[in-house]
Subunit: 260 residues, 2 copies
């Protein structure tokens, strides 16, 4: 018997939005109004760096990725899984959403492997190897709203720092077996821009062909490249739609829509 | 139709045990061998105080309870829900237990109210008002192992610091509608002692009558009194058995058994 998949929206928001009380409140309000099932994935890098600094732990970034030694792992776990995740969960509960905060270790929903130390030793950073959202799928159909912190585990007792964009894409892919998934990446711009200096030069729609053309012409560069690669991979793995936009546009779906 | 309730063991361990790598490993190993369904409730006060000190946040305790201002709430949330809870979850996953870490905000399983500021203003400290473990009960029957951090929420967006003994008792009471619950409080002694200076003077069994007699004779005093009051309340509310013992005795059930 043919049964239509129900809609699920996976929203990924960067640290900046969840770290300021006003933008967080506004985000959670908008998020609570999204129709259908939903999942929130958050970052928290700025707060992690701020806490590290207060504790005298040095922050080292290589190609935009955080080098995570044992001390830094403790800092990011405290910030991501502790303060930011639980503030979001409590905030969503206040809005009547039955939120549940998780790292990849919780329910063993996302297992990773420590990244090899060559060419760069990032320390306790994990590359995702296995995603099992069976229990989460059931919980979602009971109106539970998973709130995913950017940490995974290796199933050998170690937590591993993992990029939030990757967590969002991997989770969205796994959820797409059960749901019709829209993945929305929120960042500080209105979408992918034709001209970095022109805030309104949003590319409304991107295909793999256009993406390659824009990369070769250096219109798209830097951190946007892995974000878009993640998006195309997610679409190829079953996600229905990927949108890149600003956090204040998660209800209107304006921004850049990525398609195959 | 009569259906026998399945067994569930709720273990509460204090901060000291979960804060040292060796005692934590040993505890998790023993815990993983407990037969039947299980729940772990943990503290973390020493680590919270240590982090607070590093951050220049002053720790104030009144009658053994932590005064929790906004800064201290952030510290305890980072330590309890972040570092300690997730280390335990990852450790249990490595032992093959499908752990899920939660505060009271997660799944809205424990709602509290901020304690009135008279006679003592403890700040962001919550008194438990409502426990709803329906989703947790279902998860437990799917072999999920809840790991409960000593934090609740007020359903208005605020996390509240809540005594781990109380969380254990309230959760045990709620679980007892569905399971035959044994509640085990672990602390540094072998049980409730007749003579504080004699480590082996364990009172093997305590009833409310004996308890009152020992309190009047000052054999039982201090922090043990609320722990035992919690225990009797839990028994009256349906918990089958309460044991007070040392963390290394959670498999043997030696120590003090509390009965009505």
């Amino acid at each position: 018997m043919f049964e239509e998949k129900k809609k699920l929206t996976v929203i990924k928001v960067g640290g900046k939005i969840v770290e300021e009380p006003e933008t967080l409140t506004s985000l959670l309000n908008d998020f609570s109004k999204i129709e259908g099932y939903k999942v929130l994935v958050h970052g928290g890098g700025r707060s992690a760096t701020a806490l590290a600094t207060r504790l005298g732990v040095e922050t080292e970034m290589i190609d935009g990725r955080r080098v995570t030694d044992a001390e830094m792992l403790k800092v990011v776990t405290m910030i991501y899984a502790g303060w930011i995740n639980k503030q979001i969960v409590a905030g969503l509960q206040a809005l009547g959403l039955n939120a549940l905060g998780l790292t990849g270790a919780d329910l063993n929903y996302m297992r990773s492997e420590k990244r090899p130390p060559y060419p760069v030793d990032y320390g306790f950073v994990g590359d995702v190897k296995e995603v099992d959202v069976r229990i989460l799928n059931e919980l979602i159909t009971k109106d539970v709203v998973p709130v995913l912190a950017p940490l995974t585990h290796d199933k050998c007792g170690n937590l591993l720092n993992t990029n939030a964009d990757t967590i969002a894409a991997e989770a969205a892919k796994a959820f797409s077996s059960f749901f019709e998934v829209t993945l929305i990446y929120c960042f500080e711009k209105k979408g992918v821009l034709m001209n970095e200096k022109e805030d309104d030069s949003v590319i409304s729609s991107l295909t793999p062909e256009l993406f390659e053309k824009f990369v070769s012409e250096k219109i798209i560069q830097g951190g946007m490249i892995p974000k878009l690669e993640n998006s195309f991979n997610a679409l190829k793995a079953g996600v229905s739609k990927v949108i890149i936009t600003r956090a204040d546009a998660i209800l209107t779906h304006s921004g850049t829509t990525i398609t195959l």
